[in-house]
Symmetry: C2
């Protein structure tokens, strides 16, 4: 946990008190932070917003729907009938240049921000070059473990991104390996049952962590229970779980295109041992791809299936969860209020930035659009609202 | 909705009032029903349970954890600090014989109640024979669509179950076909994209509903985007969604052992059309199999994955959802309070029975055990508690 003075509460919450006055119900420490924030942003967030409901920047919630919210600075439960969500500001090259002196570190999501599939998003490499010249710290934090950090760097180099090394890239594999290594997993002699792509395998190989289970697992090729041949088209009964040579100490679930019922059943059965760790890379529902109209499922649906079959909750290390933040803090010692998280997904990148006291920018070149932002604002989903938005990284440099 | 007088509220809820007295906060109509229920069951449910917390039959909830519950008779929200859940009564052949005159209809779950895999549960066929002799209505209501009703009847006959015809069997396929037929699906010329087993296909064939998508779909055999060969080990980008001959009017998700990422992606993409129906057979997490220590994932995990990838909620027809109840009511005109639901799963069979005003018995021959019942009681999960429990059907007849 960072010191409170390093964090800013991005949300402003009010409730009508008994005599009908709007009153901020945030905890004292938050009110102080809100004042700092309001002064800095030059808005009227710390004043009674008696006329604010008619201004473009504010959306009043219906008084008939009292809600509770957890303050993302002090974790206090705030009961409020009215809530004003400030709509994010659009950034352009001028306003971004004004903001730049306040930011030391930029954390970028990759898919949908830097590239789509194998195509760089126009202007993103130039933006990296610009930040490098301004001596800013660049960290690439992706929820995608389909490539190793080495392969990701090679992809970035090929696309013209400069100013980063392999060390500046954080993927779920890096966080999971750090987690396992800190628990002496390599020395335990236990194995990982892996649902993951080639990139994850390369990372585990390099960290000398033993794993198995990758690749195709045709259900028809399994050891179907001969006593139950009548049901051979239905459930799978025996899948060779009994190999004594493989003591499974962890099940890791990431994206694997070969994921199927056999893998789900294996994972669920290994996870019946409560000492077996259950780690997920990320919970993204979909991934932005080269064909905008095609939905590409990501790890979220795979993890949802495995955890329901296993009856257990995993530790998920990707954004917006805390493991990624702790990993970055321990490696770089960033100051959250001088850090900008830039991503294309509200429910991973933006929540991640807000939860951990960073400034946040949504780029509209990936999964979430301005319509999504408007919908979240109408629904009062404060944690999904970024501070800023921009069409793409390229629009921030002239 | 059945008339209220045909229903009984199985739960008894109390809260401390301002002066600390325990008071029933259920709606008036429910209190009346509770009195009927209490008189019939010869317990003290309608009296102030001042000493009940020390009796075996009652578990007091912590006063520090106020909860709300929806009354399953009148749908009122009941805020209560104390809740007493009556532990289910064990039934044996004597107490069951006493109960028998009050019950006209028995609804049975199949897997875990009648059989495990291909083996009948000892005593279950004899129980059917006994009920048939007593002129009771028998309905088999399974969430399993791996076999058609015809194949299920053949399985039952082979195992020695008598007294039922194909018409007495209800599976999700039957409910879904009724649903589609009532909407003129066959005449629309549209197709179903099916994630389902052979049994489901046979039912659709018989109903003359067109479908496609069944069987293995190896991700390596798909039309991988040639521009994106570098990512060939990661996401799947093109899966042939553009066939104009197939206008998909419904996506149906049941259990299919060939379920994999390609099927998940196809379903998610067809479901982007909001006019495309999204139907799920059931949400069971696991299925009881012949090897008690082996977890067999059921449809629940598959449906969880598809709905997360699609970003939509399905209409689920299996227990505990209302579609199965409406189907049975329209076909048999059962009287819920004279109907007994017998199942092996608290979160499908027992909730289904309770929600729809039936009596409920949990048999311990399938998924849920007496330890699960005790855990649910401690957690105050009233809807998961059956009225009765028994080791298996065979234990109910001498």
């Amino acid at each position: 946990m960072q010191p409170l003075s390093d964090q800013l509460c991005g949300c402003v919450m009010f409730a009508r008190d008994r005599v009908g006055l709007l009153k901020c119900f945030a905890a004292k420490e938050c009110v102080r932070q809100l004042r700092v924030s309001a002064t800095r942003k030059n808005d009227s967030a710390n004043q009674r917003p008696s006329t604010a409901s008619n201004e473009n920047n504010y959306i009043p919630m219906k008084a008939a729907q009292p809600q509770t919210t957890i303050c993302n600075v002090c974790n206090a439960t705030i009961i409020h009938k009215w809530q004003y969500c400030q709509f994010p500001r659009e950034l352009d090259s001028t306003s971004f240049a004004e903001l730049l002196p306040d930011i030391d570190t930029f954390i970028f999501d990759a898919d949908g921000v830097l590239w789509l599939g194998e195509t760089p998003i126009v202007g993103s490499p130039e933006f990296f070059e610009y930040l490098t010249k301004q001596n800013k710290q660049i960290i690439v934090l992706t929820n995608n473990s389909n490539r190793s950090r080495r392969a990701l760097l090679a992809k970035m180099r090929k696309m013209g991104f400069t100013g980063t090394s392999e060390e500046d890239i954080v993927n779920p594999a890096a966080i999971i390996i750090e987690y396992l290594s800190s628990r002496g997993f390599q020395a335990s002699g236990k194995m990982v049952y892996l649902i993951g792509s080639q990139g994850f395998r390369e990372e585990l190989d390099e960290a000398r962590i033993m794993y198995f289970g990758c690749g195709p697992d045709p259900p028809d090729g399994m050891d179907i229970d001969q006593e139950n041949l009548l049901d051979k088209d239905a459930f799978i009964y025996r899948i060779g779980l009994d190999d004594p040579a493989k003591e499974v100490g962890a099940v890791i679930v990431g994206f694997e295109k070969h994921f199927n019922c056999v893998k789900m059943m294996r994972a669920a059965n290994f996870l019946q041992d409560e000492n077996c760790l259950f780690l997920g890379t990320n919970e993204d529902e979909t991934s932005p791809g080269p064909h905008p109209k095609t939905v590409i499922p990501d790890t979220g649906p795979i993890l949802a299936a495995v955890k329901m079959a296993a009856g257990r909750e995993p530790i998920v290390v990707g954004k917006p969860h805390a493991a990624a933040f702790h990993f970055i803090c321990s490696k770089w010692g960033i100051r959250p209020h001088r850090t900008m998280m830039i991503g294309d997904r509200s429910n991973t990148d933006i929540i991640f930035g807000r939860r951990h006291g960073m400034r946040t920018t949504l780029v509209l070149s990936g999964v979430h659009s301005l319509e999504d932002v408007q919908r979240n604002q109408r629904a009062g989903l404060v944690d999904l609202l970024p501070d800023y938005y921009a069409p793409c990284l390229g629009s921030l440099v002239s």
